[in-house]
Symmetry: C2
Subunit: 204 residues, 2 copies
DNA sequence: CGTATGCTCAAACGATCGTTTGAACTGCCC
DNA sequence: GGGCAGTTCAAACGATCGTTTGAGCATACG
């Protein structure tokens, strides 16, 4: 049982863990509130419903994640340094940083689950609130890869997104070896993802 | 309500549709048996439990899918024609063919859901029954890409798997245009996936 | 001190879940 | 026709779900 922070924060943190482990439907409010060390009724009191709790779990992480992505992208434009590698890094690095945060590490899995569940309500929420981020990065890719037709570019971005979502949510078999530091592993991971994405986006 | 085939077949087909739409937990036996036009108790009578029904849904499709993948790979070896493109086609084409089958088209989504759900029971079942297929293809990739270290190769296969799973389960935004035939669209898709995978696997 | 406000609590609500039961129905062999 | 194995059926079981309720507790303000 978690016992630090406010009731709301404890619920959000416990929800993130349990949603990642068992899914949105699979994690019950009784398990969740027990893990958070709060009363069952606290969820409906503070969030209104389970569905609104799910939204808040996304908001807490995605607001920070996408703000960092956009500011990293803006920093590249300011420095006149918008190479394909750098734009990809602006997209990938904030997500990998999140994986370092002990409680945030599970969030990418929650996100991947949301994609897999095809829940229209959730997809619409994500599209409405964070679609502009993807649109901004897509525009940058289009500028950097002018030789690609629109459909061709969308195809490649779609495939790269699939690969990154898969990898960052920890589906794969790649695990950190004990003789590699956490920092070194993250930088290795970042380099793998970026080089793969560059190849996938810009191949002839 | 479906009304063709035996009770078992009707249940399996309805289950595939509903599992793809609502997930394994989200689809109830009552919805499922109503859609199949059979009695609620028929699932437990014919399959023993809901969990065993899930296994059978996978078995029915994966047995055929992986047999076709392996025979396509064997055909390449016989013809002495094991290029990277051809090996990837042997893996991808049977899955895309499945997407054409009206009732099979949802199965790749079911498979992607299974990945996302991180269910240990299901993952173990898939690994035990179909792990040898992935191992055989991995060995072929290792032979065709001798310049890559083992970890490097695994990284790339992992990322390619993510991209293909994502794309083939229809997560992406790519839809067939009305002025493109179904056959032409599938061949375009296949070419996109193969060229992307070749780039991701063999980039310098 | 009194009371208003924000929060927590145990308990209960109705709904829905997977599963089980025992009777009814089917087609086939003796 | 009588009996039998295979299958279908409506009904019920206990468990668990999200949500609601109303009493109780805390803290701050007049």
């Amino acid at each position: 049982m978690n016992s630090s922070g406010s009731t709301k924060e404890r619920i959000l943190t416990a929800a993130e863990v349990l949603f990642a482990q068992r899914g949105f439907d699979g994690a019950s409010l009784r398990q969740l509130t027990a893990a958070a060390g709060v009363n069952l009724a606290a969820v409906n009191y503070h969030f209104g419903s389970k569905e609104k709790l799910v939204e808040q779990v996304f908001r807490r992480r995605l607001d920070a994640l996408n703000a960092r992505r956009l500011s990293a992208l803006a920093a590249l434009a300011d420095a006149d340094d918008t190479t394909l590698e750098n734009v990809l890094a602006a997209y990938i690095r904030p997500a990998l940083d999140l994986s370092n945060d002990d409680s945030g590490s599970l969030f990418m899995r929650v996100l991947a689950r949301a994609f897999a569940e095809h829940d229209d309500t959730l997809r619409q929420f994500l599209s409405e609130n964070y679609g502009h981020v993807m649109r901004q990065f897509t525009a940058e890719f289009a500028r950097l890869l002018p030789q690609l037709s629109k459909p061709e570019l969308y195809w490649r971005i779609d495939l790269v997104t699939g690969a990154l979502t898969h990898a960052m949510s920890g589906f794969g078999m790649i695990q950190r070896k004990s003789d590699v530091s956490e920092l070194a592993h993250r930088e290795q991971t970042e380099q793998h993802l970026i080089r793969f994405a560059v190849a996938g986006l810009s191949h002839p």
